[in-house]
Amino acid sequence: MSQEANNSEPKLLGLMAQFDDPDSLLAACEKVRKAGYTKTDAYTPFPLHGIDEALGIKPTILPWIVLTLGIIGGFTGLGLQYVTNADWYPFIISAKPVWSLPANIPVIFELVILHAAIAVFIGMLFLNKLPTFSNPLFRVPEFARATDDKFFLTIDATDEKYKPNKTRELLDGLLGQTDVIEVFHDPTPAELPKIIKFVGIGAAVVALIPPILLWRALYQTSTVPRINPIRDMDIQLRGDTQTKSPVFADGRTMRPRIPGTVARGEWVDPIMLTGIVPEAGEQNVLFLQDEVPPAEDEEKPAEEEKPADDQPAEDKPEAEEPADQEPMADAKAAEGDPAEENPVEGEAPAQPEEPEPNWVKIAPINVTNATLERGRNRYNIYCSVCHGLAGDGDGLVSQRALQMEQPTWIPPTNLHTDYLLIQPDGKLYNTITHGIRKMKGYGDQIPAEDRWAIVTYVRALQKTRTGTPEEIPAVEMKELEIKGQ
């Protein structure tokens, strides 16, 4: 058997003995192993017990692979749940802790089993070098029965003990052996056809296209609307502003806010919003409703938390005794005009006495030059047309109305009257917000901050008449002196 020398002959890979029954094979394996051969293998249609010892097969390391993967699976389950539920997206269900082990055991258990089972499968195939579709044994016609009812024993030609004639003799002499077959190297070319290579490369390139497109769609901007194959709630029927809705009984598409509710992120201090200090135990939200809540006429200590520390406000704290017992009607009379129903001037309308709310005495904002500047700006825009630039109630609108002798015209209030001088800031603010008599409310047009700014500016205007030279800061005094005033 010297095929090695002859290149035209196929290369001999080994010898194979065939048996009819498992016991003969076992005995033969024993004999071959004792003869010192190591590169041997047996082929049987079913697992044969005792063949491991007979052939000298070492125990497999598969269990260790499985154990390792099982442990990895356990930690995967633990980590997955901890990271996702306790760290990345923690949420509390029924006041249970964000992380508790017992609730996470089932998933850990399942992942241990899953990892270990996949390790068994892949590990077994890997250790057995499967899948291997090309095997020279498959070219031996008799070998087809190795998966049916025949038993085979092979000795590799590469075995150290292999001697062509001696090995043949050994196999020939085995009991129960029915045939000895030579196994040759497969002479057909081992490469895949070229076309498969090209198809494979082509398929790989084509397979890259979807992920690239996906990546592009996710990270690139685009001027066209994104493709939305499953619309769910992303795109849905909607009611446009100012259209009629068939859904609601009142036909309004734009739903009014439910009284007493505050939208998230829109919480504003009620004092700031209303100019009224809530009574203890009173619900703040009430002030957000449009009607004025019935407030007690108990006097409150002055607001300290707001350091309203500017001249316009300074005189206010002393000027106590707010509108406590003063009926609304009085205020109206003082301002020069009654409501429309009561055209008679100066006459106090016979309205039921309404208790005054607990007005904030000093504007609850930080008053700075910027505030005053803002206040002047807003005042000039919104108020000066009637009340005049200096607050004397002689705005252009008023002058014109008087010129034209409009019968219903009521001259605007002079802001320098005593009544207004002692009015708490909160009430002034409330007047700007809700209006009074002919004056309309400006709450919807002027934000709360600006309304308070206007209040402070009005106080500053008043100060221009009531102030003393001592109150003017020295620096400014100098400036005024320079100007010759």
Binding site: D20, D21, P22, D23, S24, A27, D41, A42, Y43, T44, P45, F46, P47, L48, H49, I51, D52, I57, P59, T60, L62, L80, Q81, T84, N85, W88, Y89, I93, S100, P106, V107, F109, E110, L111, I113, L114, A116, A117, I118, V120, M124, L125, N128, L130, P131, T132, F133, N135, L137, F138, A144, A146, T147, D148, D149, L175, G176, T178, I230, D232
Partner: protein, 473 residues
């Protein structure tokens, strides 16, 4: 080749002298011919007829699933308060059916019950197909089927949120998908040597390529067998706790809730026993006609059927015990809602379902105390059909009666299945049988390698006369 046991007394029940697992004088080659013959013979007309029926049911199922997806889950009878109707009933039913396969392959393997070798392939295939049917129902029950992947912990680009791992419904996702995966690779691993046998026998070129790919180049090398057997043992060791965990976790869906009739600690073992019971019932339903049709009586003997019947008797009695204990604890626990739930099950508006369940599951398997019932195939078949019906009703009773009558009479409501519900239940059988018929036509339905390994070894010619070996060859 030497044959074994020419004259067989199949009635022997003496443990020391048991009936062999393979009768009829078979040798290794004839086993191969017997099993492969099923695939290699001409396709019988009966197969076409059965396939046509199954396919039409499958088509109906497909149509109904499409109708459901395009219309919404309102086409089902699920309502308030019975949110879980037929879909969940069918899910638990099919998952239960699946259990016998893994139980036979894993637990009986660990207990060295060699008789399992004749029926395990069959039962494992049943497991896979039943799990496919089971997976369908929760899949479509989620409503928006197209975002089913939200169930899995996938990195989320748009939502930046993750599944809620403390929910039994999510445990279900992991349990059932792990179960399906492990059962599938267990089943496939077991088939590799048999697929190699089919590969080596077939003359059809296309089939040869298909079987070659599927058998992964298996040669039957002793070194490969050694690792293969170790792998199989490890599979069994992993699958045994898995099979118990799956139905336990399915039972958590119910037991972790607060509903009377569901919130009980007996649910895990009771569900597992019920699952084994229903699974073996289905094994019997399939095996009795199959051994007849495919001439497998020598491999799947009366002894095999009798063993299955004994398991049915045992698990059926366990299920009956669970019914009784539920009642007892409802009374003994003193919880009035619990007590009402059980009285209502037996005597309330769903009394008929309850008594169908009890008579099918508890009473009918008691017939297996009698040997004549354990050895008469048509009788077993009939009882196994009762078991299947009973187990479906068990899931119906558990799911619907508790939801329909919970704590407050003001939140009571009856469940009214629609034609879609019925259609899907029937259609799921179409899916199951379609897959099964394909398998029996193209796959090795008996684990040949394993059966050969439990056959008595032919008398070795080596030890008495070398000449005899030559004669035989």
């Amino acid at each position: 080749m030497a044959t074994v046991n020419e004259v067989i007394d199949t009635t022997i029940d003496d443990p020391g002298n048991r009936t062999p697992l393979v009768i009829g004088g078979h040798d290794y080659g004839s086993i191969t011919r017997l099993v492969c013959g099923i695939n290699e013979s001409k396709t019988p007309i009966a197969w076409y007829v059965a396939m046509l029926a199954s396919l039409s049911l499958l088509g109906m199922l497909g149509g109904l699933v499409g109708y459901l997806i395009f219309t919404g889950v309102g086409v089902w009878g699920n309502n308030n308060p019975v949110y879980w109707g037929f879909p969940i009933v069918n899910f638990v039913f099919w998952v239960g059916i699946g259990h016998a396969g893994t139980l036979i392959s894993a637990i009986l393997f660990i207990f060295r019950q060699n008789w399992r070798t004749s029926i395990n392939r069959f039962a494992e295939a049943m497991t896979i197909f039943a799990v496919v049917c089971a997976g369908l129902f929760p899949g479509i029950h989620i409503g928006r089927v197209w975002v089913f992947y939200w169930l899995f912990p996938l990195p989320s680009l748009q939502l930046s949120m993750w599944p809620q791992f403390r929910s039994p419904l999510l445990w279900d996702v992991f349990a059932v998908s792990t179960y399906a995966t492990v059962s599938l690779i267990f089943w496939y691993t077991g088939m590799i040597p048999d697929l190699a046998t089919l590969r080596d026998r077939t003359d059809n070129k296309i089939l040869r390529i298909v079987y070659s790919i599927l058998s992964l180049g298996w040669t039957g090398s002793a070194r490969a067998w050694s690792r293969y057997e170790k792998a199989y043992t490890l599979f069994a060791a992993l699958a045994a706790p898995l099979v118990l965990s799956v139905h336990t976790i399915v039972s958590f869906d119910f037991a972790v809730s607060q509903l009377p009739g569901w919130h009980t600690t007996i649910f895990p073992p009771y569900f597992v026993a019920g699952a084994v019971f229903s699974g073996f019932g289905m094994v019997l339903t399939l095996m009795v006609p199959a051994r007849q049709l495919f001439g497998l009586k020598d491999v799947v003997t009366i002894r095999h059927l009798e063993n299955v019947c004994k398991i049915l008797l045992a698990t059926g009695t366990m299920v009956g015990y669970a019914y009784a204990i539920e009642f007892f604890i409802a009374w003994y626990g003193g919880n009035m809602y619990e007590g009402f739930a059980f009285i209502n099950r037996a005597f309330g508006p769903y009394w008929w379902a309850y008594w169908i369940m009890v008579s099918c599951n508890v009473i009918s398997p008691q017939l297996f105390w009698f040997k004549v019932c354990r050895t008469t195939p048509w009788l077993m078949f009939t009882i196994s059909i009762f078991v299947n019906i009973g187990m479906w009703f068990e899931r119906f009773v558990i799911t619907v009666t508790s939801l329909a009558r919970d704590f407050l009479p003001s939140s009571w409501g009856m469940f009214e299945p629609t034609w879609v519900d019925y259609g899907m239940l029937v259609g799921s059988f179409g899916l199951f049988f379609t897959l099964f018929l394909l398998f029996v036509r193209f796959g090795p339905i008996v684990a040949m390698a394993e059966v050969k390994s439990v056959m008595p070894h032919p008398h070795s010619p080596v030890h008495d006369n070398p000449q005899a070996a030559a004669d035989h060859a």
